[in-house]
Subunit: 169 residues, 2 copies
DNA sequence: AAATTTTACCTAGCCTGGCTAGCAATTCTG
DNA sequence: CAGAATTGCTAGCCAGGCTAGGTAAAATTT
């Protein structure tokens, strides 16, 4: 083995066995996750909203663009917070001018949430250049490796699902 | 054409132009991110600690394994929370039996944080099978595509760094 | 080496953003 | 149509951030 037991462990690769050629891939994944977190933090700071509110805005905008507008209920589900917390969130975001509540055309109990034009611009300002760069990164992946990348990512996603404890039946 | 302008947009690919062959890669990235979030949520629930505390435990354990133990200060920096909040966090986690404070051998102001054996086991129970699966996923990437994967991920990470506003200069 | 500044950590007390409970309006169902 | 279910709201609680301010130890200056 490459990490001699009992010796001072290497500083970069905590858990890892350096000799495994698969390790650099997981290290790259780790770097990506870190960068993702930092990006979110930067965006929160810049737009002066918390993480949940930011994700809410992102969701609202995405659905607005897709023409499948979002209700308070739907938002609550997406964010995994209660409908009560969602009501508070909507209050915050409408007071700060980020979103607007609109009546749902087909259900008078329900509320449609839309982003204000200002919010659209603000988010576009952040996301669209970022998105362009990400798209370019994806285009730079050689044709013959694209499927491998997709498979790897999906396989990773699969890895994160906990193995079902073999219970009774 | 794939996304007829003005028509009702497709539900899966909000922002995307389906015709770009790079898009499936970003969609896979998105699926991975989602899975990652869900994994964390599951772990929080299962171990009955909040996200910050969980990340703290992870960090402590990783550093413990690497033989570079972590101080309260270091933890505070890693988590991006104040030293005061870190003190509270350490109180929570030591009351719940997850960690222990130890004197720093070389600096009597400082505190070394270690995880209890129980915590090590608990985290190992979650992470090491997951890690095995991730490692397998990485090994399954064909040799000739590995570099492309690493490059893509690093390039994505790079993409997340906001472009420097061209200011005065 | 004495005095000063900086650093690591702590407690006290505040505020934001979750939560449950409970209500009104609307829609669905038998 | 009566009763059950669903959507969203307010009220009020609590966890987990924060700033302010204190002490002890270490580092730096004089």
């Amino acid at each position: 083995m490459s990490t001699p037991p009992g010796s001072g462990a290497p500083s970069t690769a905590y858990w890892f066995d350096d000799s495994d050629p698969a390790v650099p891939l997981l290290q790259a994944v780790r770097r990506f996750r870190r960068a993702d977190e930092e990006m979110r933090r930067g965006m929160e700071t810049d737009m002066d909203v918390n993480a949940t509110d930011l994700e809410a805005l992102r969701h609202v905008i995405a659905h607005e663009r897709a023409g499948t507008p979002v209700t308070a209920r739907g938002l609550s589900g997406h964010l995994h917070i209660s409908t009560a917390s969602t009501a508070k969130l909507l209050n915050r975001l409408s007071e700060s001018g980020h979103i607007r509540r609109r009546p749902h055309p087909g259900d008078r109990r329900s509320v449609i949430v839309t982003a204000t034009e200002h919010t659209h611009e603000e988010v576009r300002g952040w996301l669209s250049p970022m998105h362009q760069r990400m798209l370019q990164a994806a285009r730079d992946v050689p044709e013959e490796s694209r499927q491998a990348v997709v498979d790897f990512l999906d396989s990773l996603a699969e890895s994160l699902i906990p193995e079902p404890e073999d219970g009774d039946g």
